[in-house]
């Protein structure tokens, strides 16, 4: 069952002690449980989103906009109509950074310090790239389109804030900021943690320790961030 060396040759059962539950270390198990709790938080946000959005289904006055009418811009290509292309690029960046992260973990299993460092650096670059893209997306959203929108009471409005936005009902803007903002905050904290662990890798801390499990734990967090983005992308942009 476990490959820990035992002092006696007596066979220990599951509850005989001396082993960790699920045969994972304390740190890794706690990371999994934290991710589960964070998944609940994001699920509640998505539940609120689903509920609010669905309540606008029959609304003809201020209909919920179709995402490809709102998110059809691309940096450096002003005026070109590219619906959902930019957010697909963001998804690709995050998935690719997840790949480099898991390659770092795999290199850690082989105690290959330089490879771990290289892959972690690429992951950090991917995270910063994603955050930059999200910042650009927010700027576009807040600044608004060229034409703006004339509301039912005759007032003109361009862009978006927490009170109203030119694209549709108020919750559309609010939920955009809350959901992508909360996720972006997780990406940001993930990048910060990755930088700390990256510096530790370079300093040889984990080499001395004899295992790169910290890289694995941080990798779990990073994959979770990617996973949440997959669902945000599905629910907010596709459905």
């Amino acid at each position: 069952m476990s490959n820990a060396a035992t002092l006696t040759t007596e066979k220990k059962g599951t509850w005989g002690g001396g082993r960790s539950p699920f045969s994972v270390s304390y740190g890794k198990l706690m990371m999994w449980i934290f991710l589960l709790s964070d998944a609940f938080t994001f699920s509640s946000l998505l539940v609120a989103y689903g509920f609010i959005r669905h309540s606008y289904e029959s609304n003809k006055v201020t209909p919920w906009p179709s995402p490809d009418h709102v998110f059809n811009h691309f940096p450096f290509l002003h005026g070109v109509h590219l619906p959902l292309m930019f957010v697909s690029l963001m998804t690709f960046i995050l998935i690719f950074s997840s790949v480099t992260m898991v390659l770092a973990v795999e290199a850690g299993h082989r105690m290959a310090k330089r490879e771990v460092g290289m892959y972690m650096f690429l992951t950090i670059l991917g995270g910063i790239g994603f955050l930059s893209c999200q910042a650009w997306e927010w700027t576009q959203f807040i600044t608004g389109t060229h034409d703006g929108h004339i509301f039912a009471d005759g007032s003109f409005f361009k862009g978006a804030n927490l009170m109203k936005n030119e694209y549709g009902p108020t919750p559309f803007g609010d939920l955009f900021f809350i959901v992508t903002g909360f996720h972006g905050f997780h990406v940001f904290s993930g990048v910060v943690i990755n930088v700390i662990i990256y510096l530790n890798v370079l300093a040889g801390t984990y080499d001395k320790r004899g295992h790169y499990e910290m890289v694995e734990k941080v990798g779990l967090y990073w994959h979770f961030v990617d996973l949440v983005w997959v669902f945000v992308f599905t629910f907010y942009y596709l459905i």
Binding site: G50, F51, H54, D68, L103, R209
Partner: protein, 107 residues
């Protein structure tokens, strides 16, 4: 504080790197399918389309959690620890979406 401790962990399979890249291509392909379905069926608003998107998302989740987060290679009960609450959460989401149908905001 730290000592060279012996870690209990499940051994990763020998061809892990190949599995990782294969999973990446699968995820990329699924995302492209997502976008293709979105544009192809853009004018048809149907529950089937929505369920397809959600299913593709869950399939992607399985690959990310299974391979990238190593869940496939852990002892059996750790996946159950994570999956069981999430199935219940999925049920919760379904109920709330149905509830949203009964609530119409009139502005």
């Amino acid at each position: 504080m730290e000592h060279t401790e012996h870690l209990e962990h499940t051994e990763p399979p020998k061809d892990m790197k190949k599995k990782i890249w294969r999973t990446f291509w699968i995820l990329l392909g699924l995302t492209i399918i997502d976008i293709a379905i979105y544009f192809w069926l853009m004018d048809h608003k149907s529950m089937t389309k929505n369920f397809t998107f959600i299913t593709l998302g869950v399939v992607k989740a399985f690959f990310i959690v299974g391979t990238f987060m190593h869940m496939k290679f852990e002892r059996k009960w750790l996946p159950y620890l994570i999956i069981t609450p999430m199935v219940l959460v999925l049920y919760f989401i379904t109920l709330m979406v149905i509830e949203g149908n009964y609530t119409s905001f009139v502005r």
